[in-house]
Every structure is written in C-alpha cells, then in structure tokens.
C-alpha cells in the first residue's frame, strides 16, 4: 500500500468571471497510494470537485485556469501534458464517475455503444470483442440480464442502475485510479448502500485507488482509508479515517460532525449548527477562511492563514488552536 500513485503539490485553480476572480483551489497538496481509498469531504463550493477536475485537466479554459502546482502521476506531471497525452490517460489510467449519471451519459446512444467506445479507442478492441467485453462489464457491476440490457438507452435504466453503467464504463480499461464525484448523492439510501458495496468489492478485485468526493461524513466512515477535509479551496484537515472521527482537530471538521444527527443514538440535544454561510470565493480571504464562523477564533486567525500543521501520526490540521484544549498551538 505504500507505493505512491499520485502526488499533488500546491495546486491552484481560479476562474475569471464578470464579477471578478473566483479562487476555487488555493494551493492544495496531497498524495494517494496505490490501492488506497481517500475521501475528500466538504460542502458545495469548497473546491473538492474543481481540484479533481483540475487533475484530469477538465477545467474549461477560459474562464478557468490552473495557475500553479504539480500533479505527479507515476513520475509524470499531469499538468504539463499535452491535450493528446491527457486523452490517453483519461479513462485508461484515471477514470471518473459523476453525481448525476443521466447527464453524463449520452441519451441518444445505447449504453452498449457508449461502453464499447472507450474499449475500441483505448484498448484497440474490434467491435465484436468490445461488445462481448461490454456485456461482461455490465455483469460485473451487477446488472441483471446484461446481454439484453446492453442494447437499452440510458433512460430505460433506474438511477441506481445508471450509476452502475457509469461505473462499468469507468472500469472498462482497468484504471489505476478512480475519481468518484458524489456518486451516491442523488440516490436513495438503499441504493447508495448497494453502490458503496459494489465499489468496495471492485476495489479489492482490481486493486484500484479511489478518490471519493462527498459532503457526507457518514458514507466516508465505512469505506475510506484516509480523509481530506476541504474548506474554501484549502485542505483544512487530513488524517486516517478513524482519527478524523475520534480526534477531529480542525474546528470545521468538529462542527460538521456536531451538525450530523445519528441514526444509532437517542437524541440528547439540539444539533450544533454552524453559524453563517460558506465564504464568498470572490474575495481572497485575509487570514483563516473559516475564522468568521469559528468558535475557537483568536486574534492571529484573522491576520494569518494557518498552514497544515502536524498534530499526530498521519494527521495534520490547519488551525492555530488546539481544539481539545482551546489553547493556541
């Protein structure tokens, strides 16, 4: 598990809009090892999707711009590759699945046609080989009656089944890294459980690394090895999964966990709500971006944005204060 697959350093992405520059990703650094599952957690607008799309160079330019950083994937910098080289990597080495499978599938092509495309393009399969493989893939992701269903159009599948089709497509070229962008958010909890189980099973059999983007700290608990928490385009906490829940070290992580009701516990009090709203990314914050909503805030927070500080084994947090004691670090 210790071979590094992807090493991202100081990644920065911004968008030029009529209202001004949106600072979406503000210098994030992280790594992912082969076969590892890392969850990226945050609310809408925290930069979790933009940073992953930046890695695959899927940011529309303009208005978007990746203006700094490196992303070393197996000794090569993804951010320096040509568009042609990226086309070989997308789908084959790094695949991505999205929240809403209906908008990411082409509604006028059969799923079979969409599945065979990448097999022919990336792996040079003949049409016949590709069709056979497409049926196998649909079986692998648990779609009943795959040989017949391969001729169906996306609208003939339910939401959960469509997400399975997306996963089959993503897996078609056996990628080493799967980026899953809120793949279960639009699904019922029963279907979510099915998809999570499926991905866990495939990860074992294919030895694939996974980046799972989500806003739900619940789903993360069952499946991730490591958790990265993002806020306003910054990584604010990173730790092994158990550590995040046992020793949350950033006030934002702490607040997110406090705002979460528990299905397994009797209610004891009102939920702890986080005051205020997520920050406006149009203004570059002075100091810590969470300071205006933070209950631990001290003078220093408003002047200087804390870097990620080591707070324990494999555990870092971007906060000037030790949230356990309330004492500045």
């Amino acid at each position: 598990m210790s071979t590094s697959l992807l090493q991202v350093s100081d990644l920065r992405t911004r968008f030029q809009t009529p209202e001004g520059t949106v600072h979406a990703v503000n210098g994030i650094s992280f790594h992912i090892n082969e076969g590892e599952t890392v969850a990226v957690v945050g609310e809408s607008g925290c930069g979790k999707s933009v940073s992953m799309m930046s890695l695959l160079r899927l940011i529309p330019t303009p208005p978007g711009e990746i203006y700094a950083g490196t992303a070393i994937y197996r000794n090569d910098d993804l951010l320096k590759k040509s568009e042609q080289e990226m086309e070989d990597i997308r789908g084959k080495e790094i695949a991505m699945i999205f929240q809403d499978p209906m908008t990411s599938l082409n509604p006028v092509l059969t799923v079979g046609r969409q599945l065979t495309e990448s097999l022919r393009v990336h792996l040079g399969h003949t049409q016949e080989q590709a069709e056979k493989r497409a049926v196998e893939l649909l079986e692998q992701v648990g779609i009943p009656d795959a040989a017949r269903r391969v001729q169906d159009f996306p609208h003939q599948f339910s939401g959960g089944m469509r997400q399975r089709v997306m996963i089959a497509m993503a897996l078609s070229c056996a990628p080493s890294l799967l980026i899953a962008d809120e793949p279960t958010t639009a699904l019922d909890v029963t279907i979510q459980a099915q998809i999570v189980e499926l991905v866990a099973r495939l990860r074992e059999s294919l030895h694939m690394a996974i980046i799972w983007i989500t806003h739900d700290l619940g789903v993360v608990a069952g499946m991730a090895d490591r958790v990265i928490v993002m806020y306003a385009g910054y990584i604010v906490e990173e730790a092994d999964v158990q550590d995040v829940y046992d020793n949350p070290s950033h006030p934002y992580t702490l607040a997110l966990l406090g705002a979460l009701p528990r299905v397994d516990r009797r209610r004891d009090q009102r939920l702890k709500s986080i005051p205020g709203a997520p920050p406006n990314l149009l203004v570059e914050p002075r100091g810590c971006p969470f300071a205006p909503r933070c209950e631990f805030v001290i003078e220093k927070c408003r002047a200087e944005n804390p870097p990620l500080l080591h707070v324990g084994k494999n555990h870092s947090s971007a906060c000037w204060v030790d949230v356990k004691t309330g004492v500045p670090r």
Binding site: E43, T190, Q194, L271
Partner: protein, 331 residues
Amino acid sequence: MNASNPLVVVQELKKYFPVTRGLILQRRVGFVRAVDGVSFTIQAGETLGMVGESGCGKTTVGRTMLGLYPATSGSVVIDGDDILHSRGRDVLKIRRKAQMIFQDPYASLNPRWTVNSIVGEPMRVHKLFASDKERLERAKELLRLVGLSSHLLNRFPHEFSGGQRQRIGIARALASNPSFIVCDEPISALDVSIQAQVVNLLEELQDQFGLTYLFIAHDLSMVRHICDRVLVLYLGVMVELADRNELYEKPLHPYTQALLSAVPIPDPRKDRARKRTILTGDVPSPLNPPSGCRFHTRCPIAMDICTSVVPEWREAAPHHWVACHAVTTSA
C-alpha cells in the same frame, strides 16, 4: 401517545394518477397508485416523520392532504375541517391553517417577486390585515422570526443563498398563522452545516407557536432527530408506524430494518462492524404493484403467503403498528 387530541386525521387516503395513451383521443390505460389507502393521525404539537424510498408516495400524501392534488378517495380532517370535501371559501379557511414548506428553495419562490411580495401573499389572499402598512410590519416580524434581517424585504430570491431562501419559504408558510405545516424534504437541498440551522429553526418555531409538523424526508438520521413518531411507507402503503426510539431500536418490518441498516453511521468502527441487509433491486413500478405484500419481491424473509395475501395493519406492540405476515404479536 394516544389519540386524545389529534389535530390531523387522515383516513384511507388514496391518490391514483391516470396513465393515458394517445395524443388526441386519450385512452386511459391504467393508474399509478401513488397512495393506496393511508390512514394516520397527528397530535397537536407533534412532529410525525414520513419516510421511504423515492417513489413510495411520501410527497403525494403531503400534497394530497393539503388539496394540492385532488384525492381519489378518503378523508383528511385538519382541526375539525374536512379539506377534501370542502369547496370555495371553506378550502381557503383550511388552507390558512395548513401550510407547506417545499423541498427546492430555488423552484418554490417566484424569481420576479420581492421577498415582501412572497411573504405578504398569504396575508393578502387570506385578507389578514386591512392596510399595507400592517402587512409590511408583519412581514418584517416574520423575517426576524426566521433569522433574516428585515431590511432584506425588497430583495429578490436570487440574491439569497439556499439556506436563506429556505428561511424565506418558512416565513411564507408562517405568514397565515397556521397550526399545521407539511415540511416536504425541507433540508435535502441544503449543505450539511446549513441543514442543522434550518432544523433548529423549525424546532424553535414549533416550541414558540405550538406548531404541528408532517416531516417528509429520506434522511433517516434527521428524522430520528426531529420527529416524535415515524411512519414508513412503501409503494403507497403503510408498512410500519411507531414512536421514534421504538422504531429505530426495534424495527419490526423487514423493509424498515433494511432502510435503517443502509444508513451510514459516522463512526468507522461501528459502521464497519455492523451487519447490513442490502436490498436488491429498485422499488417496483406503482403502475403494477406486486400482489399480496408489496414488498415481497425484495423481502429477504418472504414466505408463500406474502405473494398472495395483503398483510393486515395491526398493533404488534403498544403504539407500534406494522403490516407484515412474519411479525407475530409480541407481549
């Protein structure tokens, strides 16, 4: 909880949507039985949760109860008035008492109206105040109640965030001084940190005005947090009803058990240690629901009888109702 003082009484509520074929000569080819005989009561000041997967009829129950859809049959009595058998002025009178908060804070506010017009509309419709000035004062008061500054009255919905819009929706629902509010997934479109704000606001308002809620949601953790009793629906019928802790700690129906076991627990050790019942497949089409117990096609413990006989709705334990052949009456 006994039936001493129910504010809302729903009996044998049915809502079928006709399915037609043909553009000009529309032939009716069947019915979607979205709600197929649902009965329950809600006590004054109580929050009843209604849960189930998408397509189980939760939203249709809520909308039909307020007369937004004409019911196929059944009755809904809110504070002594039968809403489904009222006409004209009487409907208006009941609507003043029963309001709704919608799921999508973007689609449920008219983008061309100012906040003042939106919040003031129920007051105009129900002629609650004689003058514009009084109405304006009340609108300001409502905004303050939901935690917004009253100088935002002349803004338009697009100037607000999702959480703020939901607060405007709540202010509108409160404008006519209702006693009963149907909350249709009021938080599912919001970010986690904002969900807690809105839920706490709903609870504060309930304490302050003694409101009665029907809380429709698919987030079972939040339902346990906010609701007093919980009703589980499957394909338009009731499968289980109990007090919240009873339901979450001793679920009797296999569907409820599967639903609860699918909810992730935000604690890795606990989440990975527990046994899961993962349901296979999706909810069947309500156009042609399965015979007998509607859940038998996905039920892990289905028996022969389940495919032919509709299970009886009965009280298996005090105040714990369930419709399942496999549940024997406990003491």
